[in-house]
């Protein structure tokens, strides 16, 4: 009974940093975290699609999450990492500046995304999580991929 309760109320998240902002993802969507490796650019793709990488034989796209969120292009550094996530049937790599931690939060503490009159925020931020004086934006993966990719699915 207790276990069921904690499952329903606790959310396990992985948090990471892009520039000065902190974000997090539902850890259930994350398959692995790996170091940055140069991606092969794809023609005719949006600027936030960095290209394709080889993950043990699978070819998957790398999205520059910073660019996708309208925060400018990432300049990859030693600390940059790729978070490999499941989006539907697809495996997609998200390029972020740095992974911070894995944490559990109570669903009750999640706040609705304040309206800041920004389409990007409304599309990609599911909610806001206050944590020890910090603020994490909970990323919504549903529309991260370019629209034509979802259409093709």
């Amino acid at each position: 009974m207790d276990a069921a309760k904690s499952h329903a109320e606790l959310l396990e998240l992985i948090s990471f940093r892009i520039g000065e902002q902190e974000f997090c993802l539902d850890i259930m969507a994350v398959r692995e975290v790996r170091g940055w490796a140069a991606a092969t650019p794809l023609p005719h793709s949006p600027p936030y699609v960095r290209g394709m990488i080889n993950l043990r034989g699978a070819v998957l796209p790398i999205l520059d999450l910073k660019c996708r969120l309208g925060l400018g292009e990432t300049t990859p550094t030693q600390r940059s990492v790729i978070i490999v996530v499941h989006i539907g049937q697809r495996l997609v790599g998200l390029l972020v500046d740095e992974v911070s931690e894995v944490l559990e939060v109570d669903r009750g503490t999640i706040q609705a995304t304040p309206s800041v009159g920004c389409g990007t925020v409304e599309t990609f931020v599911r909610g806001i999580i206050p944590l020890e004086g910090r603020m994490l934006s909970w990323i919504e993966l549903g529309e991260i991929l370019p629209a034509q990719v979802e259409e093709a699915a």
Partner: protein, 706 residues
């Protein structure tokens, strides 16, 4: 998955194979190539389908298969001649049986009218008595058509002393494999008048009953002469799972004579109930024993296929292996590259060992690909039925000739062949062939011939569909294309170009929309789906003499021979099949044309030059063609172009990785691969690059798509 479900899946897999064999053998009989063995094989196929269907309670399927089987039995025993008309009915019956199996699978429904017609035709073949028996089987409430047989054995005293007694003691293993004792008893009943007696003495009370055990045994007595071989044949499929003992003794007769004149009534209901009880749970529990269900499948398979030593392997395992070998190839290439970078000499032992490894890897890859290669037969054998139905629907007389059914191609390609072939055949029969009257008027044989052929040509599989019909009516095609705004009224088109107009979207020449070829959405969809696979399709027509569709596809969609090129700082792969030649142009061979385009003079012709980097958006301005290399490529429809790249790195077989799996299709890119250094390289879609260049250059309205 429910364990019974998994057995059912195995049953349907076997059904598909049995039905394919059935049609194949009937076609052989139709062609006059069959013999007694072929008829036996046909009978066995229907019988096996029926047997399994009984176990799963597909009653409609059992009923129909039974009627079919009865007719076949007559043919087997020589009571019915296997002449052309009979075989035609049999072929239709096999189509109907396929429908029944599909219906049992839950896919599609049985066309009741057609099934009824065929049932009648089959019954008409066997004639009065047996047909009545057959229909009783259909309507019988036990679903097996099993009727208790009471007969007069008073005259047996006069019979020869060749009487026989059979003791049948099914083991639990037999039930586990889905066999049913009732079916054997029914078979035995056909071998001659007999008396069946069940021995329930071993049956414990319900409290002690093990639902998976076998307690019942039967004794079958024949009074008159009976063919022992036929009796043993009944147990052909079960072998040691159902031990039988045959006694041929005069004593047997005496016993019979001494026995009561009326055989004890057989309690079929009780028998069926007990059999169901025994068989049901036994079947359901089979899967719990791990690998067990695979065994009967393999066993029946090997029996049906005779001496051929084959195994049935889950496709996923083969695919996994192909993936792994792909990884091995990539790893081997990576290793080779590192060794090369380490500046060890070519003759060092590591380099030499690596060369051997490379040869081995390549061999493993070829062998694994060969495992997955299949003859196109599996696709072709569905076509005779399609042609029969189309011929029926259009009122045309059609003969289908198939060639090269043994041509092997990778499974990934096989799956994609069915739709285009179906479309091409439909087109040939619906649009190509004339009606019998028209053919007679044109002085042609009334029967139209459609040929379906498969062959290997320069590393690709080529499928040809040709008919001896009227060919393409070019003035009409042209007129329609103009009317639909697909081409300009005064467009100068060659005959070939006019023929290929039928591949344009929204083009249909049928004056009346028929439900066979649809609404003209066919050919352009076919063309697009084939192009997506790196294939080509074209048509050649000879007015009054017929048309030929030619479809070519790569032999596999898993690996590709490619030319590895550098463009800027990127590495790309161009499919070798598209490349005609590669050259370093001399300055006077590259001639500017217009503000920023250039052409290459090659043996008197001028082909447009396309900078690969610009075409893919990797750079803004083209490089000077004379400083790079040119890949002279031929796109679909014969369009040539010179692709300008910076450098050629070499030829290599690469493993194709789909971009769609995790991303989406990208214009100008066919797929991706992984190179020796572990990086992803993109494989060019040459046709798309040529088409994109042309689309950019040509003003609207629509130009020829190919």
């Amino acid at each position: 998955m429910d364990s019974l479900d998994s057995i059912r899946i195995t049953y349907f897999q076997e059904c598909d194979e049995l039905l394919a064999d059935l049609e194949q053998n009937l076609l052989m009989l139709e062609a006059g190539e069959g013999d007694g063995d072929t008829i036996n094989a046909v009978f066995r196929a229907v019988h096996s389908v029926k047997g399994g269907a009984g176990a799963f309670g597909f009653e409609a399927l059992v009923a129909f298969a039974h009627i079919f089987e009865t007719t076949l039995d007559d043919m087997r025993s020589g009571k019915l001649d296997a002449d052309a008309d009979v075989i035609k009915i049999m072929l239709r019956a096999s189509d109907a049986l396929v429908d029944h199996v599909q219906a049992a699978k839950g896919k599609g429904t049985v066309n009741e009218d057609r099934a009824a017609t065929i049932t009648q035709e089959l019954e008409a073949l066997v004639g009065g008595g047996e047909a009545a028996d057959a229909s009783a089987g259909e309507g019988g409430d036990d679903g097996w058509g099993f009727k208790p047989l009471a007969f007069d054995i008073g005259g047996l005293a006069d019979a020869t002393a060749e009487g026989m007694i059979l003791h049948m003691r099914p083991t639990a293993a037999m039930y586990v494999k889905g066999h049913d004792a009732v079916l054997f008893l029914r078979e035995l009943e056909r071998t001659g008048p007999c008396e069946i007696e069940i021995d329930t003495s071993a049956l414990p009370g319900l409290d002690a009953l093990d639902p998976e055990a076998s307690y019942l045994t039967w004794t079958v007595r024949w009074g008159a002469a009976v063919d022992e071989v036929a009796v043993r044949d009944v147990f052909d499929f079960v072998g040691e799972d159902c031990p039988i003992e045959i006694v041929r003794e005069a004593v047997a007769i005496q016993e019979l004579e001494a026995g009561p004149v009326d055989p004890p009534p057989i309690d079929i209901e009780a028998m069926l109930a007990s059999v169901r009880e025994t068989a049901g749970p036994a079947v359901a529990s089979a899967d719990e024993k791990g690998e067990k269900p695979a065994q009967p499948a393999a066993k029946t398979e090997s029996k049906a296929a005779g001496a051929a030593a084959t195994i049935r392997v889950d496709l996923e395992r083969v695919d996994r292996m192909i993936d792994l070998v792909g990884e091995l190839v990539i790893n081997q290439a990576m290793l080779a590259q590192r060794v090369a970078e380490s500046e060890l000499g070519r003759s060092s032992s590591i380099s030499m060992g690596l060369d051997e490894l490379e040869a081995l890897t390549r061999e493993i890859q070829d062998s694994v690909m060969a495992i997955r290669a299949q003859p196109v037969k599996s696709v072709f054998q569905r076509m005779p039925r399609l042609v029969r139905e189309l011929a029926g629907a259009t009122g045309k007389d059609v003969r289908l000739v198939m060639e090269g059914e043994g041509t092997e191609v990778d499974k990934t390609v096989i799956e994609r062949l069915s739709d285009p072939i179906t479309h091409m055949l439909r087109n040939a029969i619906d649009h190509g062939l004339e009606t019998p009257e028209e053919r007679a008027a044109a002085g042609k044989p009334v029967e139209g011939v459609v040929r379906l052929a498969a062959l290997h040509r320069s590393g690709r599989i080529v499928i040809e569909v040709d008919d001896d019909g009227k060919g393409i009516n070019r003035p009409v095609v042209r007129q329609i294309a103009v009317k639909k705004g697909l081409i300009a009224a005064d467009a100068p088109l060659t005959d070939d170009e006019i023929d290929n107009l039928i591949f344009l979207p929204g083009f249909s020449t049928a004056t009346a929309v028929s439900n066979i070829s649809g609404r003209g959405v066919g050919m352009d969809v076919v063309k697009r789906s084939i192009q997506a696979l790196g294939g080509r399709i074209s048509i050649a027509s000879n007015p009054g003499r017929g048309s030929t569709f030619t479809l070519s596809l790569p032999l596999t969609l898993a690996v590709l021979d490619g030319m590895v090129i550098s463009v800027g700082d990127q590495t790309l792969v161009a499919p070798l099949t598209a490349i005609v030649e590669t050259l370093r142009p001399k300055p006077d061979e590259v001639r500017p044309l217009g503000p920023d385009a250039a052409v290459l003079a090659v043996r008197g012709a001028h082909v447009p030059l396309i900078d690969v980097g610009v075409a893919l958006g990797l750079r803004r301005t083209p490089i000077d063609a004379t400083s790079g290399v040119i890949l002279l490529v031929e796109g679909e429809g014969g369009a040539r172009a010179g692709l300008v790249a910076d450098e050629i790195q070499g030829q290599r077989q690469v493993v194709i990785k789909s971009l769609e799996a995790n991303y989406a299709r990208v214009d100008g890119i066919a797929a991706a691969t992984i190179l020796g250094d572990g990086r992803v390289a993109l494989i060019l879609d040459v046709d798309a690059i040529i088409a994109a260049q042309r689309d950019r250059a040509e003003p609207k309205p629509l130009a020829l798509a190919s």
